[in-house]
Symmetry: C2
Subunit: 613 residues, 2 copies
Amino acid sequence: MLNRIKDVLIGPPLPTRQSHEQRLNKVRALAAFSPDALSSIAYANQEIYLGLLVAGSVGLSLAWPIGLAIVVVLAIVAVSYYQTIHAYPSGGGSYIVARSNLGTIPGLIAAAALLIDYVLTAAVSLTAGVDAIASALPGLWPYRVELALALLALITLVNLRGLRETGTFMSIPVYLFLFTYLPMLAYGLFVLWRDGPAAPAVSALPASFQPVTLFLLLHAFATGCTALTGIESISNGVPVFEPPESRNAGRTLAVMAVLMGALFVGSIGLTQYLGIVAGSQETILSALAHRIFGNGIFYFLIQVSTLLILTVAANTSFAGFPRISAILAKDGFLPRQLTGLGDRLVVVNGIVALAAATAALILLFKGNSHLLVPLFAVGAFLAFTLSQSGMVLYWWRERGRHWQVKLIANGVGALATGVTLLAVSVTKFLDGAWITVILIPLFVFVFLKIREHYQEVGKELSLQGLPPGLRPIQKPRLAIPISGVHRGVVDAVRFARGISDDVIAVYVELEPGEGDDLRKKWERLWPDVPLVVVSSPYRSLIHPFLDYLDRVDAGHNDGQQTIVVLPEFVPAHWWQSLLHNQTAWLLKAALLYRRRSQGYQHVVIDVPFHLRQ
Amino acid sequence: MLNRIKDVLIGPPLPTRQSHEQRLNKVRALAAFSPDALSSIAYANQEIYLGLLVAGSVGLSLAWPIGLAIVVVLAIVAVSYYQTIHAYPSGGGSYIVARSNLGTIPGLIAAAALLIDYVLTAAVSLTAGVDAIASALPGLWPYRVELALALLALITLVNLRGLRETGTFMSIPVYLFLFTYLPMLAYGLFVLWRDGPAAPAVSALPASFQPVTLFLLLHAFATGCTALTGIESISNGVPVFEPPESRNAGRTLAVMAVLMGALFVGSIGLTQYLGIVAGSQETILSALAHRIFGNGIFYFLIQVSTLLILTVAANTSFAGFPRISAILAKDGFLPRQLTGLGDRLVVVNGIVALAAATAALILLFKGNSHLLVPLFAVGAFLAFTLSQSGMVLYWWRERGRHWQVKLIANGVGALATGVTLLAVSVTKFLDGAWITVILIPLFVFVFLKIREHYQEVGKELSLQGLPPGLRPIQKPRLAIPISGVHRGVVDAVRFARGISDDVIAVYVELEPGEGDDLRKKWERLWPDVPLVVVSSPYRSLIHPFLDYLDRVDAGHNDGQQTIVVLPEFVPAHWWQSLLHNQTAWLLKAALLYRRRSQGYQHVVIDVPFHLRQ
């Protein structure tokens, strides 16, 4: 039943040999890797607008220069990653580049930053997408949390179905976005030429008016830099491209960077020169589209395509998060379960973990993307900086053709992203960046603890050193705890007598005298199996039994422990177990876990008795 | 550590032989059984007042006649239960009386009504007690839910310590209550004589003014009948009295009924003739005490003693609920766990269940006793009516001395409580009585289903009928699923070879080729144990292993199933299990539960490997 539901929702299992067929051509790869990068203009523009609005018209007139500065950083970062793609054709995520060039700790810092960023990308994209559609349909504004969660559920299911179907599903929104936004910007330029530039009509100064300061400008620049998030995704996914992988990936990156730049400067420039301002329940991009297209079908199409691309942008995380956590798990820094491929050739556990964390963030921040963004840029730029610095060392070591030029290109990248990181950390610290600043070292600590555990396990499991006793054990001594003389114990007794001659049955008596009645019935059935009655003055079943085992073992003094043959009552339906004392289960837990500290290592033989109804 | 906390909170375990010493003399027994009955004047008066207030001064002038009518019912019920005590000296709860005289279903109806009533007694008493103290200290009014829950936690702990200490703890509040209320009523009579009667000063007519109708009077009468709840408690607990049990219990009942009557008519009469009205955040008893004593220390003492007796009234439930549920459990109508005596000779599971249900009610009804009362009286009067009707049949069958008189006495009791039950059900149906009306048949259904299950289990466990195969099994066939060649499997192999020669190891290979590497290592250590490598095209570990077992068993055709020797990895700390695939656990679950429907009955041998760190 559960299996059938699972089949309908996420499809039948795929055999392992299909995993090599899942490659993407450039058109599909652009759709798969670009949504995060392209769609970030939706919230980056919004943040620049909100950051400058507090300084009134004067503030808003600085949007365009700030936008240009960000595009310069974008170009630098794109060139840097272009080089990474060629240097690491098997996938050069920030973690791999930082770890192999700078060492384990910087690598783990990059990995922590990336994991946090993937969650934030999903949360910010979904909430910003819901903002876009709620700008067009104000009736939806109070239900933004519910809508974001519904979209998250949808995208989680789609991802559980596997990579190829995800690619198909995403191509449409990405190209719809490009084919609506680029014409809108072109038509917007025509409108600007026709009507001439206008000053922003800030109706009333905001209550929290601030003068234009360097801090305010840096703050706006720092938040605007969220436009760059997602640009690194192609460098993580080079092996998914059709061969020649690096060349195809590099070209796709170049196309993506040009599109990002055009969309970003185009929209921010038009916003400023057409003098756009937005109401409190509308995004600035929605206000821009309103100004250019009025209230018609084109405006609505723009909002829908914004929602769609932001929804699939969350998908970048669903591709990236499980991939990086699987790599970390393989290196022993995360639980091993995260490496396992699921039925549909995707890393199921990673997808589920990401979905849960994203849902928690959406609920915690009440679906407000503006509150989430400050947590966002720190991780992204930390990963950028570490990755670029790693590349600088890479060229220094590897040399090769034109290595000086490449080193300088990555050095400029490291410097630009490092300075931006500093600006972001300082200006957004109190707004929420502190959360990320605390989480990253915490994650690194956990990574290291996990690896320490696995290394210890490896040592303890190793067959090196002391040669383990490989000889079979002596004839075992068996004890059967019984709750009465009934069919439930028959198989246990048969089994015990089948493997050993040294078998006793043990009954723990709660009321004095019970044991004598039982003994008569017992001796009629199994006269050759001794029955021991243990009294329990405190009405516990477990302790008297364990104490008795200890006494028996102490009496034999052969170093062997008595083995427990447990008649286990298995009900036909789960609810029936509420109607029975869980003594078998408690005894097993006591044998396996509680007594381990005292050096016991009990073998337990479970002989089930299945209830038919 | 947990055990030490438990010892401090609920004391060390008591041996079984102490259980017969826990008897109560009459003074202590009155304290143990009367709080519910005595304290119910606190909410009964309040409900009569609120029920009549909507009819203004005219309504309030009818309180006294209604109070007298209720005292008549009280006298009838007390006489009826006095007879029950002598007829059932081993404890004549409504369940036992109704079941043995009317049949199983009426008995279960009474039992369901009692269980529900015990929970409601606890919830209503605690919330009404908090109302009393919050009337004196209005600053506490917003925290009534928290206060009620804190009192519930306190009384739960006290009960977990056992019956005798509970008795001591309760004597003080009960006698404090009597020694403050009786003098207050006497002094109130003096005040009335001195000042003369006054009309109630209803300042403004309530918004929901209603004329005095028969329905309104019945409604007030019905709610006032909650004053009678708790009167049956002594008849349930006869065996706890010192011998001669029945005579002591009967006398205690008589004393209690007289005290109840005096307190009830005294307080309701004074309320009416002194013309008392209460504010919205004050109880009517508090207003009465105010009028008599002013605002001084005596007033405050009255409120404190009201709180205290209501708190220990909740204790009536903590004595009664576990007792009735243990009786039901012994008869097979409730899960067997409820019969078990705890470390401190009390029925722990019943206490915990009651505390949880009470806490849920307090939270659900936001600590408002007025909303809880309508659910309350239905169950109590249903149990009364069934119990009295049962007694009528009892006398009809038993005869004996003066049986006709006794039959008529119980007949009048049955009639009076039956009419009251009807009045309560009809007038309070929409206020909440419908909840009880739905719950009681639901409970009865569950009781019957549970007994059906136990009867089926008894049949399946019986050794009658087909003689079970008692001969030892043949030499077993063993299979060891392994995850690699390491120390964790060494003990499993040693054990398996110790009990059988027919041992194989099975490795499920996820990536083609893994198995070959493993085989080389394996054959170096255990050349005489064959290793079978099973491939898993869908990356599942469990299914390929189970399928392989099926093939082996089919090949042998001897009716025996292969026994699984499971090397189980036991981590040193609970959090470490998050870092390991729970394959052993999943495999055990699959062997014990999932395959049961296909007729498999797998023996599983757990060989633990304990991680040292």
